[in-house]
Each structure stands twice: as structure tokens, then as C-alpha cells.
């Protein structure tokens, strides 16, 4: 029999030195740093380890060396397939860009029977139809929808209260299905609704066409009703009744709920989460405070509010982690989307965490009057008098003018996190978003000064908080791995 050689005969790493692949580091806490490679794989390291690696002195027999090699921070004489794999992973992260716009939001009406103070866009319920989308506008908007090359198209109906213009929803669904008979996209519909005016005909229609329902649930009854006033003061009761009826008609998983975080929410994360558990939801999205109020009006950095939100967020997250550790599977969706970026080769479609930004090319809004906005927040900004992100109008502009106009390309190009000051050297950049609308709204330019950006502050804290938690407890890491692969 031929001789077998021992492992040293195959290990050239000790003699060759190593070549660093692109990597970045940012502090994690007082002692540790987070290092990331180009594709967003991370390692927590000490200051000394960072120093040794960066100075080329890390010995090949060090455990850290093998971890860095395995995660494609370095290549040596043994292997260079890491370059191929890293390139593949970067391409995979960016691949969804080529699909272009997948989420198309139709504002069927601005009318609403709620009068939520945090809403910038609704109009009190009345009989006037001046705030309703017309068939002509819908037809033009659908021209743009099907001009998008995306193989998957989701049409989401928003308002106001979208169901107050149910004839328009029926019209758009029928027309989209008709066009899709030849366009052959993976077509889905979502109705965003407060469920208060949900009737059986609507449910039957939704069931027939496989339409999902997405509603608002801000927490326990007193909080929800305070956030979301309507005649009768029964928004919560209506929402819960609607959730039950919609689940019965459409199926449990075809009804979703989103919460809006307000100042009144900040002291009550557990009660809000408990409300979602009580209603048998599999998770909750602890959403950031909307800046389209105080912050925009004052153009100031609302650090105080941001700190309170982070306390709210982490109290809620830790409560959810404890639920999972005790055996009840429940997801926090913001964490799950970040974890997907950290722990998998895949990308999320959450617009706020996209870079290049998701405005226009991830999601786009067709307002009731035909104005095309780059995002839902862009529409809110316009309602407050700033039309920077109005990309055109379905009646006046074609697909090329809207998608290739300066109003969209400028913010996309300028805000790309991979090249802007403060982001390009940040280890967290592979997980973060560009958010030109937020920075324009709060600082007056698409990039903004990141140290003054509450978007930056918040996400840095979330990234650090998630890493600290999974580094400290392997069981938390397993929970996080599961979340990362669910969303």
C-alpha cells in the first residue's frame, strides 16, 4: 500500500504568510471589535487580535487564523477559492437589484374613518370622491407595474382606508390578472386595512383571489384606541374581530399585523408583545419611531427619543428571546431581517435596510391622484409640503422618465452606503441601509452626517445588541439562526 502523508504535508499556510481580503472593523463594546468581510460575515475579536491580524502578524496555528480563513477574511498558499466564493456571495447579496421593483403600492383613497394623529396622509371620511383613485389613473399605474422587469410583483392597496374604495380594488385586481395572463409574473395582492369596515363580500373576494390582509395592531385596547381614534372609540375591537374573521376566511397565515410605535408605546413593550401572543401571531415587528413628525419639523437630532426607543426595543427583544428559550417560538421581525443579512448569504427586501436604497427600485407608490412616489415615506413627506421624492405622474410620464429621472437616480447614487462618508469604512455597512428619504427629511441632504443620524445610531445599537446577545449564549444564536432563515 502506498504511504499516506500526514496533515502537515498539506498545510502550507505557516510558511507562506497571508493576504488579507477586504475587511472592516468597528467596536462592539469596551473590549471587543466586530470584523466583517465583504459579504457581511462577522467575527468578534479583541483589540489585540484586530491589531495582530491587521499588521500581518497573526500566526497560522492560531484558532483565530482558521476562523478568519474559513470566513474569507484571508487567503494563503493553501487555497484561494475564497476569492471565488466571496465574489459569489457579494453577487448573491446584490442579485435582487436586477429584478427591479417588486412592491407596487396603490393608494386607492385617502379617505379614512380613523383619525390617527401619527398619520400624515389620511383625510376624514366624507362622501367626496376627490381623494379616490380613478380607473384611468389605475390603468396608467398598471402600465408602469407591468413595465417593471421583476419576475415577482406584489400589489399592495393602501389608504387612507383602502377598503373605502373597494370598487377600485376589484377593478385593479381584475385588470392586473387580465394583464398577467400574458405577462406571466408571480403576482400577489395585499390589502392594507384597519379592518373596521371589512364586510363578507370583501372577504369572499379576497379568498377567491388569494389576497392577503395586513392590518394595524398597536397593542392592548387602551393603547391601540388612544393611538387610533375612530367614531365609537372601538378601533381595537374592530381590528380583533376583523383579524378573526379574516383568518377564518383566508387562512391563519394570510393575515398580518403591524404596530406603529408612538411615545405612548415606549413604556409598554411587554404588553404590546403579549397582545400579539394572545392573538396567536407568530411574531411582531417592533418598528422604529416614525421621524415624519417632530424630527422633520424641527430638523433636529432626536437622540433622546431614539434612546427611549432603543430601551423599548431591547426590553421587548429580551422578553421575546426569553419566550423562545422557554419553548414558545416567536419572532421579532426587525431583528430577523438584520440577522438574515448577518447570518445568511441572502438579502432582505425591507426597504429601510437596502443599499442601494430601496426607494423606487424596491418599492414604489402610485398615489390616488397619479403622482408616483419613491416610497411610502416620500408620500408622507409630500403631504407635509416636500415633493423631493415625487418621481412623476402616471398621466404625464412614462416608465423610463420615472425610473431614470434625476429625482430617483440622484438620491440612489448619492446615498449608496458603500461609498458615503461614515458608512464606507463601517464594519456594519453590509447589513445597513442607505435611507436617503430619512436623511433628507432630517438633515436636508440624501447622505446626511452619520454621527448626527438617528437612523445610524439606532441601527448601530441594534447590530451591536444582536451580536452581543448571540456571542454570549449559543442557545440565543440558535434562535437567531432560525429567525434569519424564516423571514
Amino acid at each position: 500500500m502506498a504511504k499516506f502523508r500526514d496533515v502537515a504535508a498539506f498545510d502550507d499556510s505557516a510558511s507562506s504568510g497571508y493576504t488579507m481580503l477586504p475587511w472592516r472593523f468597528t467596536s462592539l463594546d469596551d473590549e471587543r471589535y466586530v470584523a466583517t468581510n465583504m459579504a457581511g460575515e462577522y467575527l468578534a475579536m479583541s483589540r489585540e487580535e484586530i491589531f495582530d491580524f491587521a499588521s500581518g502578524r497573526l500566526p497560522a496555528n492560531d484558532d483565530l487564523y482558521t476562523d478568519l480563513k474559513s470566513r474569507h477574511f484571508l487567503i494563503d498558499a493553501d487555497t484561494d477559492v475564497a476569492v471565488d466564493l466571496l465574489a459569489l456571495k457579494v453577487r448573491t447579496k446584490l442579485a435582487p437589484l436586477a429584478n427591479f421593483t417588486g412592491l407596487h403600492i396603490f393608494v386607492t383613497t385617502l379617505r379614512c374613518e380613523h383619525s390617527c394623529p401619527y398619520c400624515q396622509v389620511s383625510r376624514a371620511n366624507d362622501d367626496k370622491r376627490e381623494f379616490d383613485m380613478t380607473e384611468e389613473t389605475a390603468m396608467r399605474a398598471l402600465d408602469l407595474v407591468f413595465a417593471s422587469p421583476s419576475p415577482a410583483i406584489k400589489i399592495e392597496f393602501q389608504g387612507g382606508e383602502s377598503l373605502l374604495n373597494m370598487p377600485m380594488i376589484r377593478f385593479i385586481v381584475a385588470e392586473a390578472l387580465r394583464r398577467n395572463a400574458t405577462a406571466q409574473r408571480n403576482l400577489a395582492f395585499v390589502i392594507a386595512t384597519n379592518l373596521a369596515v371589512l364586510d363578507e363580500e370583501t372577504l369572499a373576494f379576497a379568498r377567491e383571489h388569494g389576497i392577503l390582509m395586513s392590518t394595524s395592531l398597536d397593542g392592548p385596547a387602551d393603547l391601540h384606541n388612544r393611538n387610533r381614534p375612530r367614531p365609537g372609540k372601538n378601533s381595537h375591537e374592530k381590528a380583533i374581530d376583523g383579524i378573526k374573521r379574516a383568518r377564518t376566511a383566508l387562512g391563519h397565515y394570510n393575515v398580518g399585523a403591524l404596530m406603529t410605535t408612538t411615545a405612548a408605546s415606549l413604556s409598554r413593550p411587554r404588553e404590546i408583545i403579549d397582545e400579539y401572543i394572545r392573538l396567536d401571531f407568530g411574531g411582531i415587528f417592533l418598528r422604529p419611531l416614525s421621524p415624519y413628525g417632530f424630527a422633520i419639523k424641527t430638523k433636529t437630532y432626536a437622540a433622546y427619543d431614539q434612546r427611549k426607543w432603543l430601551n423599548f426595543y431591547f426590553e421587548g427583544l429580551d422578553y421575546i428571546i426569553d419566550l423562545n428559550l422557554a419553548g414558545h417560538e416567536f419572532i421579532e421581525h426587525y431583528a430577523a431581517m438584520v440577522l438574515k443579512k448577518m447570518l445568511t448569504p441572502l438579502q432582505t427586501s425591507y426597504v429601510d435596510l437596502m443599499s442601494p436604497a430601496g426607494i423606487g427600485i424596491g418599492a414604489i407608490v402610485y398615489n390616488y391622484d397619479g403622482t408616483v412616489y419613491a416610497s411610502d415615506e416620500s408620500r408622507m413627506l409630500a403631504e407635509m409640503g416636500d415633493t423631493t421624492f415625487a418621481l412623476g405622474n402616471v398621466h404625464d410620464n412614462n416608465f423610463a422618465e420615472i425610473m431614470l429621472g434625476e429625482a430617483l437616480l440622484n438620491p440612489l447614487e448619492q446615498s449608496f452606503a458603500g461609498s458615503v462618508p461614515g458608512c464606507s469604512w463601517c464594519a456594519f455597512e453590509p447589513w445597513c441601509g442607505a435611507e436617503p428619504v430619512f436623511h433628507h427629511a432630517t438633515q436636508g441632504d440624501f447622505v446626511g452626517k452619520k454621527p448626527l443620524s438617528s437612523f445610524c445610531t439606532r441601527n448601530m445599537s441594534v447590530f451591536r445588541g444582536l451580536i452581543s446577545r448571540m456571542e454570549a449564549d449559543p442557545e440565543v444564536r440558535r434562535i437567531f439562526e432560525r429567525w434569519a432563515n424564516i423571514v
Partner: protein, 374 residues
């Protein structure tokens, strides 16, 4: 019919249609002797007198009792020999395409030989049209099948054409695909149900290269997998659980989930103690009881990432309960054996059992499961 060393399909059906009889060998097991078959194979010598005059006939030794209707054999009368190529009753038949290999794995169960064995390809090309078209799955192994180059592609094409309802599983180290052209040609066959089983033994190149005893193999294997997937060929990554692979099993699972999430299956396989595995036993052996923590974590990582994952060649009583649902009964029924320690075990029906070769060394944790956990 070719005289000399004919390749024949067997039948026990004395009512075979006349046009087929000349192409087949009749296995005589008593009763009336039918006419017209190309060959007659007899279970007892006294039947020889009943064989039609002038037709070749042979006695089947007792070790060929298993031969049955639909099997395909090579008769070698000059040597008094018979080789079974295909058994209809077996759910998985495999064909060794060549004994040559460019790896030299520490635990190889089929040690390679540098021989000119191109005749094997001709034989399989001849056999494929005779195989039962209802067969569930066949396999190509080696050696390293891809060293055959264009002839490898020819064999895959033949399997695709002659067995249009049969899955094809091919064991390869993947290295030959790194250059891209063979992967392109294999993808172009568009086989209806093909899986390439390719071993990856570590996340670190030198550790993989050590197991396969070939410098540079890791990079070629990974590039080969990328090329295959780029050309639409399904790939199963196979990891043998042994002393050299356990230390990096968890990082390997993370590596697969992060870099090769698009692979179609991961098989984590217990050792088969034949060939080099027996010679290198002390170097490669690790008691499965001693790697359950690593195995459970690795399976969890792969499963959470959505990768279809199986454990092969394992025994229920040794496996951590959390991963028993990933175990498959991978050892063919007729090869499956149990140890004296297994007497009284209630879990034999779900347990993969042992290769007969396991007698020389098996886990100290083998013990009968005598009651089910509630």
C-alpha cells in the same frame, strides 16, 4: 447472440414472448423446459439433459441462488464465471465505472488502482438497455467516474435515454468539473433525475486535502460544485464522520450554509470499515458516541438554514435523540446487520443497522432500546 462472454438478461418466465427468448437466459427451476432461449441456466445438473440441443447452458453454483427474473449478468463460460451487473429486486444498483482515481482517501472503501479499464464503460453501455425500466435508482461510482471524460458523458446520456424513469446518483470528488467544460457537458445532457454526490471534508483546504491525500483538491472540488450548480446539475455534499472531520464539523456546517446554500442535499455518513478504512482504522476511528454533540450542532445549523440533511450509516441508540429524525436507513437491506448487543431492541425497524464490516469496530454506546420514550 454473441458467444464467448455474453451479457444477458435473465428470466424465470417460461411464457416469454418468442421474439425475446433468443436474447435472454432462462433460469430453469423445474417443471417443463421451454424452447427458444439463447441460454439456459440450471439450478441442478440433472436438468442438463432437458436443455434443447445445441443451445448453450450452464450450471449455477449455490452462491447465485439470489439471481432472479430481470437480473442482468455477464457470463464468462471460459472461466466458469458469472458476474451480476443488475439485480431487479434491489432498489439501488450501482456500477463501478473505473478503478482509477485522482484522490487517495484515508478511508476509501474502494481503493483505487491505476489500470486501463476502459472495457467497463463498454460493458455498462451494453447493460443499460437491458435494465428494468421501472428501476427506481441506479448509481455510478468508482474510482473517479469523471476521469473518463467524454465517455463519462456518454454513460450519463445512455442512462438518461434507456432509463427514462430511473434516478441516477453519481459519486465523484468533483475536481474534474472545476475547469467548467465537463460541468457544461453534463448539464447539457439534462438528465431527468441526476444527483452528483461530492465529498467536502472540512471548511479548511489543508484538512480536506489531507483526508483525500491530494494537495489542491479542496479548491478544485469547491470550484467543481460551483460549476455544476451553474450548469443546473444537482449536488449532494457528502461528509464522512471520522477523526479528521469531526474537529471542523461545526465550522463546515456553517461554511456550507453560508457559501453553498444552493446545494440540494447534505449527507453526513458514518464510516464503512472496508478498504483503506480498515488499514487506517486507528488513525480515522472515532467512536460515534464521542461526536454526538458536534453532529447535533452541525445538523441543527444545516437544518435551520433550510438545507435538506440526512445522516447515513448510523444506529438509533447512538444518535442524540434530537437528530434521530435525520437518520436514514441507508445500508441496503441485504447488507444490513445487527450486533449481539442489539438483541431485544425495539428500534430495529427504524435503525440503519451496520455494514457487515462494522464487526471489527463499532460504538461502545450500542445497546438495545427496550422502551420508547414518551
Amino acid at each position: 447472440m454473441e458467444s464467448g462472454s455474453p451479457l444477458l438478461r435473465l428470466t424465470t418466465n417460461r411464457a416469454r414472448p418468442t421474439p425475446l427468448r433468443a436474447l435472454e437466459a432462462f433460469v430453469y427451476e423445474g417443471g417443463e423446459m421451454p424452447d427458444g432461449f439463447g441460454w439456459y441456466l440450471l439450478r441442478s445438473p440433472d436438468a442438463m439433459t432437458r436443455v434443447p440441443v445445441g443451445v448453450p447452458a450452464a450450471m449455477l453454483p449455490a452462491e447465485f441462488d439470489h439471481l432472479a427474473d430481470g437480473d442482468v449478468v455477464r457470463l464468462e463460460p471460459s472461466r466458469g464465471g458469472l458476474r451480476t451487473l443488475f439485480r431487479k429486486a434491489v432498489p439501488y444498483n450501482h456500477f463501478l465505472l473505473t478503478e482509477r482515481c485522482n484522490n487517495y482517501c484515508l478511508m476509501c472503501s474502494q481503493p483505487p488502482r491505476a489500470v486501463e479499464d476502459g472495457w467497463i464503460v463498454d460493458e455498462i453501455l451494453e447493460a443499460l438497455p437491458l435494465i428494468d425500466r421501472q428501476a427506481t435508482e441506479i448509481g455510478f461510482t468508482g474510482g473517479e467516474p469523471t476521469l473518463l471524460g467524454d465517455r463519462f458523458i456518454e454513460l450519463v446520456k445512455a442512462a438518461n435515454s434507456h432509463l427514462p424513469a430511473t434516478a441516477l446518483h453519481i459519486l465523484s470528488n468533483g475536481r474534474t468539473f472545476a475547469a467548467g467544460t465537463l460541468a457544461r457537458d453534463l448539464g447539457a445532457v439534462r438528465h431527468h433525475d441526476l444527483m452528483m454526490g461530492i465529498p467536502v471534508y472540512a471548511d479548511l483546504a489543508h484538512l480536506h486535502d489531507h483526508v483525500v491525500q491530494a494537495n489542491g483538491a479542496f479548491d478544485e472540488t469547491i470550484r467543481g460544485i460551483l460549476a455544476l450548480k451553474a450548469h443546473g446539475v444537482r449536488v449532494e455534499v457528502r461528509v464522512v464522520l471520522q477523526q479528521q472531520t469531526i474537529a471542523r464539523l461545526i465550522p463546515l456546517a456553517q461554511f456550507l450554509a453560508r457559501n453553498l446554500l444552493f446545494i440540494d442535499h447534505v449527507a453526513l455518513m458514518g464510516l464503512e470499515l472496508t478498504g483503506f478504512a480498515r488499514a487506517n482504522l486507528e488513525q480515522i476511528w472515532i467512536d460515534p458516541a464521542d461526536y454526538q454533540a458536534e453532529l447535533a450542532e452541525a445538523v441543527g445549523i444545516l437544518d435551520r438554514a433550510g438545507l435538506r440533511t440526512s445522516i447515513y450509516n448510523s444506529q438509533t441508540c447512538v444518535l442524540a435523540p434530537s437528530i434521530r429524525r435525520f437518520a436514514r436507513r441507508s445500508i441496503s437491506d441485504w447488507k444490513q446487520e445487527y450486533m449481539p448487543d442489539c438483541t431485544g431492541c425495539l428500534a430495529k425497524n427504524e435503525c440503519g443497522g451496520f455494514f457487515s464490516s462494522a464487526k471489527i469496530r463499532y460504538s461502545r454506546a450500542i445497546s438495545p432500546i427496550t422502551e420508547y420514550a414518551t
